[in-house]
């Protein structure tokens, strides 16, 4: 059987970066193809090229033999390709039904009213994806999984031949994953071609017919999920080693004055308590990890320490009680926060982002520091003139850390630096952290849900759960006392 969707020689360059290089594959009707690759591998770009959101520099995207490459997105959509975005903005003033109805409307200016059959059709689709009971609700009142269901409903409303789904299971519970898998399988059973894009082969392995693995814009392996997972190259790209811990003796830090002492810190968001009487102490030069699952309160804790949210309790910075300082003044005093969301200036180049971090340094020192950072993250030097938005996730994270380091921090807070990054990038980040710990006197406070990343360099570990610190100790003790209940949570 020939492909319904045939991709051949697809190539996309951003400046000097080749994001997608001569990629060819096809998807047959009634088939689920998994397109996997670590962040920065080009898989999202391939999806955007198919959908016409980005224009390919070369190559063809053929649907039933008709080349769609370079056509505007709406024409590609009408030709029969639907997409489920990972992040989308639903219409907030409209009900779920109206949101789904949107997918059914004709592309005509004179379309004034959706007919009864369109409403019936939208209702049926809603029922199919499991939204039958919330038809008249506003999107803002829905839980996350239902919003994703609504996106699925919109994408299939037009009855597309090919469905592209970006990170189908991101943020879903295991029960929800089961529902979504069943839905996606039902698309296949109707004869649609389904392309799943994910960074992890494991999450899609159970349902895909074939897998294509991308790395640095090229296909490195394809075939059955099991074969791809067993492939040598794929394993090298994906798998990291076991955890070895390297804590330094507690005694080194015991007699120093804490650089940061947090006492009885509580934070409320309206009525909800995000943090409850949290204590935390950091000594100069120490590397401390705070581990906790999503929603445990790590980001809130860091935001309070950096002065971004209001809090109750006391924070002592270098021995002195801190009161009423602005977030900017706190950062200038040497407490630098590298947030989970990275907050890069997307339209500015790498060089400009770094330069902004070094605004308060005198000229010579700035250049010296910059040179030092380029040794730490050589890839940034190669990308100097590229705008930050076009960097891969791993490169953006490196840039965020580099920009924070330009501010000459005494305490560097890193919030979830590994979020969404592939193991190969984690290795590079881990090396950088190791270097910072051993070669500089910067105190580091790392927040992570990824324990394998949080432990190796930590001198001490805190465990945060539901807004409370439930454990504190060395990484070695962590393995014995906390790992069981934490990892299985």
């Amino acid at each position: 059987m020939t492909g319904l969707l045939e991709i051949s020689g697809l190539t996309k360059r951003f400046g000097g970066l080749v994001a997608v290089n001569d990629v060819s594959f096809d998807v047959r009707p009634g088939e689920i193809l998994g397109l996997i690759g670590p962040n920065g591998s080009g898989k999202s770009t391939v999806m955007k090229l198919i959908m016409g959101i980005e224009r390919p520099n070369a190559g063809k995207v053929r649907l039933n033999g008709v080349n769609l490459a370079g056509r505007p997105t709406y024409e590609i959509a009408r030709a029969g390709i639907g997409i489920v975005f990972q992040h989308s903005r639903p219409l907030h003033r409209q009900t779920v039904l109206q949101n789904i109805l949107l997918g059914l409307l004709p592309d005509r200016l004179t379309a004034m009213r959706a007919g009864a059959d369109a409403i019936a059709h939208a209702t049926a689709i809603a029922g199919r994806v499991g939204l039958g009971h919330v038809l008249q609700c506003l999107p803002a009142t829905l839980p996350f999984a239902d919003l994703r269901r609504m996106e699925l409903a919109k994408a299939i409303a037009r009855n597309p031949l090919v469905v592209l789904i970006d990170e189908p299971f991101a943020g879903l519970t295991s029960g929800e994953v089961k529902d979504f898998s069943d839905l996606i399988v039902s698309f296949r059973d109707e004869g649609r071609a389904v392309l799943l894009v994910d960074h992890n082969v494991k999450s899609v392995a159970a349902m895909v017919d074939r897998v294509i693995a991308l790395y640095l814009g090229e296909i490195i392996a394809q075939g059955h999920a099991a074969d791809v997972m067993a492939d040598e190259t794929v394993r090298r790209v994906y798998l990291g080693g076991g955890i070895t811990t390297h804590e330094r003796p507690v005694a080194i830090f015991a007699n120093t004055q804490p650089i940061l002492a947090v006492k009885d810190l509580s934070v409320f968001y309206g009525k909800a308590q995000a943090l409850e009487k949290v204590d935390l102490t950091l000594h100069p030069g120490e590397f401390v990890s705070v581990v906790g699952l999503n929603g445990a309160g790590k980001t809130t804790l860091f935001n309070a320490i950096s002065g971004f949210v209001a809090y109750d309790g006391a924070i002592h910075w270098q021995g002195r009680a801190r009161t009423g300082q602005s977030a900017a003044a706190i950062a200038r005093a040497g407490l630098v926060h590298c947030p989970e969301t990275r907050e890069l200036f997307g339209d500015m180049s790498v060089a400009e982002n770094i330069a902004l971090g070094g605004q308060f340094l005198p000229g010579p020192e700035r250049l010296e520091r910059q040179a030092w950072l380029f040794e730490l993250f050589p890839i940034l030097k190669a990308r100097l003139q590229q705008s930050a938005r076009t960097l891969s996730g791993g490169e953006q994270q490196m840039l965020a850390i580099a920009r924070a380091l330009m501010m000459n921090p005494q305490l560097l807070i890193l919030d979830e630096p590994t979020l969404g990054l592939a193991p190969v990038i984690l290795g590079q980040l881990s090396d950088a952290l190791k270097y910072l710990r051993e070669q500089t006197n910067i105190t580091i406070l790392l927040g992570e849900q990824n324990v394998t990343f949080a432990l190796p360099h930590a001198d001490r570990v805190y465990v945060l759960e539901h807004g409370r610190m439930i454990w504190e100790g060395t990484p070695t003790r962590f393995a014995g006392e906390m790992a069981e209940n934490f990892l299985q949570a």
Partner: protein, 303 residues
């Protein structure tokens, strides 16, 4: 929604009856201006509230309508309805000429281009002062009516027609697609909608009513002038009225216009200070209630 319709109907009936309860021609004149500004602000809200595009040049469209109609009357001596039609046509064509290239750009460029368009029109009027009357203004021989009440009914009729059409469009499938395009253009395209087409159509509709109201305003005031119809300040008034009244509501901007014009008149004895007071109140309201008057009312209902 139903309550809202009843309230709107009552307000309109009250307005229609207003000239018969013994209010002065001056008050009727103020109400007439409110109607004109209400149309300007409603038209602007279709673009901002629904299509998500900030048009900094509502007075470009108003000015084209006004001077198109004014010149047709003063220079060509055409009958008044034809002049209004020509003015409206000028606004629509000018709007198209502006929107087609501008809406293809992303980011803040659309807004900037519309801002420049106002300055260009203003300069053009001054440069061709021989024809346009320049800064002094262009007097037209015809007027809508010498009777304040009749003028008011013309303006009220325009407000009702424009409001009905704009509300119908905003609540139609077209409006739904337009909102989707404004909120997430990529997703709207991925659902198969030619986003630019919808935005251009919305701009044309906005230009149509802005131009029509601008043209009729000329024959109400008896003159087309830069100060009253083209100046950036006019555009700012329209924008403030729309935001103040409530974004994405169509009706809200009329309330905003009523407040701006009404308060401006009430405070007129304060002289120069009145403008400052009105602007300060508007600024405070927008800061505290970013959803505007109507957003405030609706918020109360749902709470």
């Amino acid at each position: 929604m139903k309550n809202q319709r009843i309230i709107v109907a009552i307000v309109l009936l009250a307005l229609a009856a207003a000239p018969w309860i013994g209010i002065s021609d001056y008050i009727i004149g103020v109400l007439t201006m409110i109607c004109f500004y209400g149309v300007f602000a409603m038209s602007w809200d279709l673009l901002f509230g629904y299509a998500g595009e900030v048009n900094f040049g509502p007075s470009f469209l108003i000015g084209l309508g006004a001077y198109g109609a004014g010149l047709a009357d003063a220079d060509l001596g055409l009958p008044l309805p034809l002049c209004v039609a020509l003015g409206t046509l000028a606004a629509v064509l000018g709007g198209l000429l502006l929107a087609i290239p501008a809406l293809r750009l992303r980011g803040p460029y659309f807004g900037l281009i519309t801002l420049v368009a106002v300055l260009l029109l203003q300069d053009a009027i001054v440069i061709f002062a021989g024809t346009t009357g320049g800064e002094i203004g262009l007097s037209v021989p015809d007027i809508l009516s010498v009777n304040a009440t009749v003028n008011f009914y013309y303006a009220l009729g325009l407000l009702v027609i424009a409001g009905t059409v704009l509300l119908t469009v905003a609540n139609s499938s077209f409006g739904l697609i337009l909102q989707a395009a404004g909120q997430d253009a990529i997703e709207a395209q991925a659902l198969g909608f030619n986003v630019v087409k919808y935005k251009i159509a919305a701009f044309v509709l906005s230009a149509f009513f802005s131009g029509l109201a601008g043209a009729m305003l000329v024959f109400y005031l008896g003159t087309a002038s830069v100060d009253a119809m083209v100046d950036i300040a006019v555009g700012i008034q329209v924008i403030i009225a729309a935001v103040l009244g409530g974004r994405r509501t169509i009706i809200g901007p009329v309330l905003g216009a009523a407040f701006l014009i009404g308060a401006g008149e009430i405070l007129r004895p304060l002289g120069q200070v009145s403008g400052v007071v009105v602007a300060a109140v508007a600024l405070g309201t927008i800061l505290i209630f970013p959803n505007g008057f109507l957003g405030l009312l609706r918020g109360r209902h749902s709470a």
